[in-house]
């Protein structure tokens, strides 16, 4: 049984570090890229054409970055992640696909970034809210700005609520997760119903010295019969399994309670009346 011990491992990620989580992330990367409308849907084509050096923070198994590297062979892509397993997988995938323009390093985003000032044209971080404690965000975003070239882009995407659904079991699990976020220092606002990273992204970017900050929302509809229904249901089933050590370690629920909710959710999700939408926000700014 996996455990959630960030004090010992310095890994705050609520879904842990396992092969199962890696498999889940490989699928999730693709789903989120699609739902968001592409790799960089909000950036003008001209800006994308001028990218040379891209850094992805918390790259996981490398899905987003490898697609970037694949789409543009002149691009030099760098990914960092706290998990050795994820980095090994991403590196192996890069070399198997002959993508010698992509490289991956093990590094913890709560530490200063190991790159000189102004190294990258684009620094990206997608869904790091479940992995980086709130207190570490302002220094991290400052570091992201530091390693960006003047005129370059710092871009962060976060999910709100984990999803809005009509399943009591899902919403109860979500409530427990928000409570766990609070206890683990991952919540951004004092609200027991929200994660809150979304409303803080623009402010973190501004306080870290970036300018021309803009925001773009996207959704993933995983209601019964909707585009992401099947794929997301598989995601939730695994995620609710993997989140158990986190919920137990933060003391917000007991094992039988989690198991009962998980079981109830898998029944709810099969109902034709099941409704669910995931909301996310991308915020980006420029380094002056």
């Amino acid at each position: 049984m996996a455990t959630y011990e960030p004090e010992r491992t310095r890994n705050f990620y609520l879904l842990g570090d396992s092969q199962a989580e890696m498999v889940q992330l490989i699928a999730a990367d693709q789903l989120f890229t699609k739902a968001m409308g592409g790799l960089l849907p909000e950036q003008p084509e001209q800006a994308i054409a001028h990218l040379h050096d891209v850094l992805d923070i918390g790259c996981g198994p490398g899905g987003w970055l490898l697609e970037m590297a694949y789409a543009n062979s002149r691009l030099h892509a760098t990914g960092i992640d706290v998990s050795q397993g994820m980095i090994d997988y991403a590196s192996a995938l890069a070399s198997a696909n002959g993508l010698d323009n992509a490289q991956f390093h093990v590094a913890n985003a709560i530490d200063p970034l190991g790159f000189p000032d102004g190294t990258f044209d684009l620094v990206n971080a997608r869904q790091i809210e479940g992995a980086v404690p709130t207190a570490a965000w302002p220094p991290l975003v400052k570091e992201m700005v530091r390693v960006t070239r003047p005129g370059g882009i710092i871009r962060i995407t976060s999910v709100e609520w984990g999803g809005v659904t009509n399943s009591t079991a899902y919403q109860t699990l979500h409530k427990l997760m928000v409570k766990g976020f609070g206890r683990a220092g991952l919540n951004h606002i004092p609200d027991e119903r929200m994660y809150g990273a979304t409303v803080m992204l623009g402010r973190y970017l501004r306080d870290a010295g970036s300018v021309n900050i803009q925001e773009r929302p996207s959704i993933m509809d995983f209601s019964a019969g909707a585009e992401y229904y099947q794929a997301m249901n598989q995601q939730w089933v695994i995620a609710f399994e993997l989140v158990e050590p986190f919920l137990l370690a933060t003391g917000v629920a007991t094992k039988p309670e989690i198991e009962r909710l998980r079981q109830q959710f898998s029944i709810d999700a099969l109902e034709d009346s099941f409704r669910g939408i995931l909301y996310m926000l991308t915020a980006w700014g420029e380094k002056p």
Binding site: V164, N166, K175, R193, V199, P217, I277
Partner: protein
């Protein structure tokens, strides 16, 4: 003129029959973008065939009047159950000299006293909270009935705004709880309003086709262009919502007032961060 303290409620669906204890429209997140862009229906690719628009629960007419101002060639009709609000909307339209808008006292959530196919577009914005969740199917069928074939039915909702301050969160939570207690929430535990995931299927089930949905986000943190406008509107809404919250038993008068005052001061802080996701869902009448 009907005094506002004596507001008549035509709505029969309310589970709180006591007069004067009604919720106002909770959110107005679409007003700043409307005023900024002059586009009441930014997601509609072609508005050239839209000549008559019905606005559901038009309240004091702020959205309807702004939309009519933005599209002077379109005739807007607002329907609203509270006569006092209709009076205010009419007075406002007259004062601003907007000729292409009219307001009528009518329960917007019952059978509509309007002919079939009378409108090119029927617009209902942030009506969650104004009617019970169970009455949405019949209500939407009426919206579809009064839309002409090929016309559009358009809904916009939000599940709760998000902010980094305590009292704002508490008040949003109380509203969510009160809607749950009065069967107006789509949530099975009151956590959020949970109305947005329900909209697409509701519109399909009411007989509209080619249903699409689009998300948009408004940031009204301190320093943002929408901050003053939306904070003022939320302050007004949450003040008007207090009797409803107290009546439903989710809070006490003292606690509600204290939280409200705290929220007002939070909103003035430079640290105030807030935003809201809205989902606009629209379909055509076959």
């Amino acid at each position: 003129m009907t005094p506002s303290s004596d507001a008549q409620l035509n709505a029969s669906s309310s589970s709180l029959p006591e007069q004067g204890v009604e919720l106002p429209r909770l959110f107005h997140f679409d007003l700043p973008p409307l005023k900024q862009t002059g586009q009441p229906f930014p997601e509609q690719s072609d508005i050239s065939s839209i000549q008559r628009v019905l606005d559901i629960a038009s309240g004091d007419g702020q959205w309807t009047i702004s939309a009519a101002q933005a599209l002077p060639q379109v005739q807007f009709v607002g329907i609203e159950g509270q006569a006092a609000l209709v009076d205010r909307a009419r007075a406002q339209a007259k004062q601003e000299g907007i000729p292409n808008v009219t307001f009528t006292v009518m329960d917007p959530f019952g059978p509509l006293d309007l002919p079939d196919g009378a409108f090119d577009l029927v617009n209902a914005r942030y009506i969650a909270g104004l009617l019970e969740a169970a009455t949405w199917p019949n209500t939407l069928e009426e919206f579809v009935r009064v839309t002409r074939p090929g016309g559009v039915i358009r809904l916009t909702e939000n599940d709760l705004p998000i902010s980094n301050t305590m009292a704002f969160a508490q008040l949003g939570g109380l509203i969510s709880d009160a809607l749950y207690e009065t069967k107006r929430s789509f949530s099975s535990n009151g956590q959020l309003l949970s109305v947005t995931p329900a909209l697409k299927r509701l519109l399909q089930d009411a007989g509209s086709q080619e249903v699409q949905q689009g998300v948009w986000f408004i940031n009204f943190s301190a320093g943002k262009p929408a901050h003053a406008d939306l904070c003022q509107r939320l302050s007004e809404t949450y003040r008007l919502a207090q009797p409803f919250l107290i009546r439903t038993g989710v809070t006490t008068p003292e606690a509600a007032e204290q939280t409200y005052q705290q929220m007002l001061s939070e909103m003035q802080s430079d640290d105030f961060c807030a935003g809201a996701f809205s989902l606009t869902v629209w379909g055509t009448k076959p």
